[in-house]
């Protein structure tokens, strides 16, 4: 390093140096006036992409996050062999009628597969808040806040990366479910697209919720507690694992205010042609559009208030 500097100073005369300096100054001034993008959305994709790059550069994280739904599908889905409750002397047509009555489909595995799509979305969205906590802890949040990037863009970036990740994981879970024997008779481009638009809305709403809860927190233990507190009730007090019709009346009322139930209901109606429904398809969509819009807007409004103390 030292010789480099000395040789440079020997070879350049003072005159050359001043010319060089002048050039550098001009270049600097020329570049010093870039036309800045001042739209409130600038930086949104940069922030989203930052988290996505971290995710796909680390495939172990993806694999581990997929293990859980696969275990549920493989062990829970196959273990709950409801067919064994029905005497084998009952003719198959009547067996199917019993299944259709409770589950709306002819086998439990398909019923659970649809539930697993919302399961993976719920669990991915829950951790959207964690990356906010880490960014705060390691100072990246303060760096972002000291730039003119929109406060809303910071929050929306966190939500978007979670939405994109959760939808990709849901797609992988769907493929695995089909390989494991999910009923594919209703599968088409339209039903898959419809299902994923419902999952998008659910993911957007849930991710906004968890990001919002993490906005002020820099403590990951608290955040973990919040995740556990919300995740399991949202899962069990929904129709993800079991049909709502077999639940006691009070629980049915809880299930009916849980947006996850409407996502499951819509996915089952579209993807599996379920005959049992919680609400008509248009109502499912309305509930989830409302859910995503309200929580998304709330997240942006709160980010203006909470991100600076």
């Amino acid at each position: 390093m030292a010789d480099k500097i000395s040789t440079r100073s020997v070879t350049t005369t003072t005159q050359e140096k001043s010319v060089e300096e002048e050039e550098r100054k001009l270049e600097r001034e020329f570049r010093a006036t870039p036309k800045l993008n001042k739209s409130p959305l600038h930086g949104l994709w940069a922030l989203t992409n930052r988290d996505l790059v971290k995710w796909y550069k680390n495939p172990i994280q993806l694999i581990i996050s997929l293990v859980q739904p696969v275990v549920w599908l493989g062990l829970f889905g196959k273990a709950l062999n409801f067919g064994s409750f029905i005497s084998s002397s009952v003719p198959p047509a009547q067996q199917q009628a019993v299944y259709l009555h409770f589950f709306g489909v002819t086998d439990y595995f398909s019923f659970l597969s649809a539930g697993m799509l919302s399961f993976i979305i719920l669990f991915t969205a829950a951790f959207a808040g964690m990356s906010v906590v880490w960014d705060r802890r390691f100072g990246f949040m303060n760096k972002a806040l000291s730039t003119p990037v929109g406060r809303g863009a910071i929050v929306t970036g966190k939500v978007l990366q979670s939405v994109i990740r959760s939808l990709i994981q849901a797609a992988i879970v769907l493929v695995i479910a089909i390989l494991f024997g999910m009923n594919t008779s209703h599968l088409s481009v339209l039903t898959v697209a419809g299902s994923f638009s419902i999952l998008f809305l659910m993911s957007f709403g849930l991710s906004s919720l968890f990001v919002m809860l993490a906005l002020r927190s820099s403590d990951w233990q608290t955040q973990m507690a919040i995740i556990n507190l919300l995740n399991l009730p949202l899962l069990f007090a929904s129709n993800a694992l079991l049909p709502v019709t077999i639940m006691p009346g009070w629980l049915q009322n809880v299930v009916r205010v849980n947006p996850v139930s409407y996502a499951n209901d819509a996915v089952r109606q579209m993807l599996l042609g379920s005959t049992q429904q919680l609400a008509p398809l248009w109502a499912d969509f309305s509930v989830l559009i409302g859910f995503a819009m309200v929580l998304g807007a709330l997240g942006i409004v709160l980010s203006w208030k909470l991100l600076s103390k």
Binding site: M1, E21, R28, R31, A32, P34, K35, L36, N37, K38, S39, H42, G43, A46, L47, R50, V53, K54, K57, N58, R137, F138, G139, F140, N142, K143, A144, L145, S146, T147, P148, V149, S218, S308, K309
Partner: protein, 346 residues
């Protein structure tokens, strides 16, 4: 005296003011972190905040960089009000935070470009500029390596480069050399001086290292318990201690000329010890010449003379009543400092 005053007034009016802070304060619940701080920073100046941990240095920087909303008072940066136009302030200043904030999983170059994106700088501009900045901080060879492989000094330099991506007129540096070894610290000081001299940038830094404040800053504000105790050039702060010490050795032990030396206006105190006089004086450089003149005018001969300047340590002690101490801070701050130190030593 009056001519000196008019000169300083003229000088300050010629140099535009970059930062003007008036009565800025911030309280967190009961705790008053900053209480009515007022100061000015002129363009092209290196201004330092010196004080112990928890004195309110970072809180003040965070208010000026619009991360925290002040509880009271006003501040203008380059004539822009931090309350009314926070985004304009953000576009005009660069921030080098205390922590290492670069994303470990991205490369150095990607990190700088990400910063550029956050400022809304088009990639066509930010890409070449990022390369320039990496060259400036001598990281061009490591540009495409993940930050997780960087050493502490490299990370600090990367933070510096990130803080410069938006061509700031004013750069905030929060504890720029925290946890760095002596060599890297000297390198960072070199960059800071270069930014002032070559790029005519205004710099505002906080530190709790006395030698850092002393050697880098044009002016220092000593801050303690949320108050500015004193503002001045390092020399002025030291003079505050009670002056320089001149030790003069005279060939002749008799006669005693202490009384004559004491008559010099700059001299405060004289003590004779054999053929040596220990003289406390205000401006040592000027006073020593006058002392020599006095000695010679009495027909005596000067053998030795020494001038010792008070250190900033003593000034600090005098002003705050204690040496710089490590004070306990809150958990989050401790954590982030630990992370910073840990990465710095890697």
């Amino acid at each position: 005296m009056s001519s000196q005053e008019s000169v300083s007034v003229k000088e300050s009016s010629q140099r535009p003011i970059m930062v003007e802070v008036e009565n800025l304060s911030k309280s967190f619940g009961q705790l008053k972190a900053v209480e009515g701080v007022s100061f000015e920073i002129k363009e092209g100046e290196i201004f330092g905040f010196l004080g112990p941990n928890g004195a309110g240095k970072s809180t003040t920087i965070n208010m000026l960089t619009t991360l925290l909303k002040p509880s009271g008072g006003t501040a203008e940066i380059a004539g822009i009000d931090i309350h009314k136009h926070p985004n304009e302030v953000r576009r005009n200043v660069g921030v080098v935070p205390q922590e290492y904030t670069a994303d470990e999983d991205l490369t150095g170059l990607q990190n700088i470009i990400l910063c550029g994106d956050l400022y809304g700088i088009p990639r066509s501009n930010s890409k070449p500029h990022a390369q320039e900045l990496l060259k400036l901080v001598e990281l061009e060879d490591a540009a495409n390596r993940k930050v997780s492989t960087y050493s502490g000094g490299m990370r600090r330099r990367l933070e510096l480069a990130c803080g410069l991506i938006n061509y700031p007129r004013l750069l905030f540096l929060d504890e720029p050399t925290l946890g760095l070894d002596v060599q890297t610290r000297a390198a960072v000081w070199g960059y800071i001086r270069m930014l002032k001299e070559e790029y005519h940038m205004t710099l505002f830094l906080t530190t709790h290292y006395l030698e850092e404040a002393d050697s880098l800053c044009d002016r220092i504000a000593i801050i303690d318990h949320g108050h500015i105790v004193k503002i001045g050039t390092p020399a002025e702060l030291k003079e505050n201690v009670g002056g320089d010490v001149i030790t003069i050795g005279v060939a002749e032990v008799e006669p005693d000329i202490s009384g004559d030396i004491a008559k010099i206006p700059l001299v405060k105190d004289v003590k004779k010890n054999g053929n040596q006089y220990r003289i406390k004086a205000e401006i040592g450089e000027e006073a020593s010449i006058q002392v020599i003149d006095t000695v010679r005018s009495k027909g005596l001969h000067v053998r030795t003379i020494a001038l010792t300047k008070p250190t900033l340590d003593e000034a600090y002690l005098e002003l705050t009543g204690r040496t710089l101490r490590e004070e306990e801070t809150n958990r989050q701050q401790m954590f982030s400092q630990r992370v910073t130190m840990m990465k710095a030593r890697r």
